[in-house]
Amino acid sequence: MVCAICSIRIFGIEMLETVPTPSARPAATLEIEGLTIEFRARGRVQRVVDRVNLRIAPGEIVGLIGESGSGKTLTALSVLGLLPRGARIRSGLIRLSGTSLLDLSEDEWRAIRGDRVAFIPQDALRALNPVFPIGLQVGEPLNIHRGTPWQIAKHKAIELLRSVHLRDAEERAEEYPHQFSGGMQQRAMVAMGLALEPQLLIADEPTTALDVTVQAQVLKLLREIRDAHGTSILFITHDLGVVADLCDRVYVMYAGLGIEEGSVEHIFYRPSHPYTQALLRATPTIRAVEKELVSIPGQIPSPDNLPTGCRFADRCPVAFERCGEEPPPFQVGGGHLARCWRCATPQ
């Protein structure tokens, strides 16, 4: 039985066993280790996510940023078992509170999606079902996963819509997606993501269509939810202002690789990787208006034509010979990692 909202949120069977495997570190809400995702098209293999590591502690808000096409969405989708057709997890580990998420049956996935992990997709309009009223779609996970009676679920849905600052929520809940503006659709998706108070919330660019005042309110709401329920949040965005505002730690991806990770302080005050530095320079702020924004010249290499050395080499202002020859290692130290020869400690 596929639920009406979208293929993502489906009825709840029994919750999965969540006996965490004993480990030295306290179980992170989400652990991704060495995740590699490949596409096979016309006999060619394209590696779009390459040995990515990511860890989110309980109650932590982690930002995932990086060039368009670098693999952020695919990384997120793999946590939900929703990779598109043709994509395959080649290797790696994904654990949710210590339980491996690989090789789950479709029923086991359904129990996880929506119930323990909620997803706010990049494209709200496509995720909403055009033939059902918004309120019904927001309340449905409660009815389906928790058995909340309809009357109560409906009230909860209106409350949730109010919490994302939708005006006249009660009446608007009766409307259909095409009657909502872009920003309202996006807020409906946020409300839906919060309905079940998940353990992990994955939000893929959830505020792109929101004006700044509403965005500020949604960010505040996310912080409050984290504080109240200890929800872990993976926040994918290209808006560095939002990252600085909201996140505790940040991962930066480039061409399928994790290239830098650290606390927000590290990333914003002391970015190590030249790509991260360039990103910060390319951000327009309302305080300083430059004549020409500093963009990074060139393009991200396409996954079927990756360079042998550093993947950023042909765009890097400080590249030197070694960069073109050998891929740089991920350098460890103090919770701040960067994949760059300039940052490597000499052997």
Binding site: L219, V289, R342
Partner: protein
């Protein structure tokens, strides 16, 4: 000011919402707006979510009909044009929509999506069309290796750039862009914004640019209109609006912008377990300043 390219005169749009709980109801999404778009300028539109920005744009595109008021393009009411004139209008006014995914036919490859408008308007030969497609792709920073792919095989930002390429490939006189860069990372956004500025300068394009991102609006716009609940509450030269905002809503806007400067962030709680700044790894000191 003579010869506005687009002239919006006292335009309103009311939607019948037909809610079940109540009697038939209607909703006034745009309420008596008047504004003009001058040739060669970029008019930025900012405003709350649901304030009617997309509705206004859709009316300028002749996609939905105003319930009151007149929209003129080059002096002609766009709703009294003949069939041939409408086709010409379609070439002159192009759009980049808020959600690019829904405006593409998923069965077509990127290459054919981009060359289709050229074919429809009978522009160029097969060879020259191919070159125009490749040039336009390069302009928006995309690799020609994507040509054979289908829209669903692209990332969100790649799709958005294809939408922009499709809008400018016909060299229209006006491009109406609804949040065209909101799905893009900042370096690509910077590239695209520079593309907008460059095409405006070099091809004399006129832009109407809707965005919720004030920095972006400030960067690209000559003039700015601020919308709230269906009405324009403030309009003027971009610099003046940002330097001396008059309306309380406009005045409140800059404070709501998250700033990449950490010193200004409104974090209610401190990072849990974040390493203190002094604990940076050894290699870092050798990193670029």
């Amino acid at each position: 000011m003579t010869g506005a390219l687009l002239d919006v005169a006292n335009v309103s749009k009311t939607f019948e919402t037909g809610r079940r709980l109540w009697l038939r109801q209607s909703f006034k999404a745009v309420d008596r707006i008047s504004l003009e778009v001058r040739p060669g300028e970029t008019l930025g539109i900012v405003g709350e979510s649901g304030s009617g920005k997309s509705t206004l744009l859709r009316m300028m595109l002749r996609l939905i009909r105003p319930t009151a008021g007149i929209i003129r393009f080059d002096g002609r009411d766009i709703w009294t044009l003949s069939g041939g004139e409408i086709l010409a209008l379609r070439r002159q006014i192009q759009a980049v929509f808020q959600d690019p995914a829904s405006s593409f036919n998923p069965r077509h490859s990127i290459g054919s999506l981009l060359s289709a408008p050229l074919e429809v308007h009978g522009i160029g030969t097969r060879e020259s069309r191919r070159k125009m497609v490749a040039d336009t792709l390069a302009l928006v920073g995309l690799n020609t290796s994507l040509l054979a792919r289908h829209p669903h095989q692209l990332s969100g930002g790649q799709r958005q750039r294809v939408a922009i390429a499709r809008a400018i490939i016909l060299r229209p006189s006006v491009v109406l862009a609804d949040e065209p860069t909101s799905a893009l990372d900042v370096s690509v956004q910077a590239q695209i914004l520079n593309v907008f500025k460059k095409t405006k300068r070099e091809l004399g394009l006129t832009y109407v640019f809707v965005s919720h991102n004030l920095a972006v609006i400030r960067y690209v716009s000559d003039r700015v209109a601020v919308m709230r609940r269906g009405a324009v509450v403030e309009m003027g030269e971009s610099d003046a609006i940002f330097a001396r905002p008059q309306h309380p809503y406009t005045r409140a806007l800059p404070d709501a912008v998250p700033d990449p400067d950490l010193g200004r962030r409104g974090r209610t709680t401190q990072a849990s377990g974040a390493a203190p700044t002094s604990e940076l790894h050894q290699g870092e000191r050798r990193c670029l300043k």
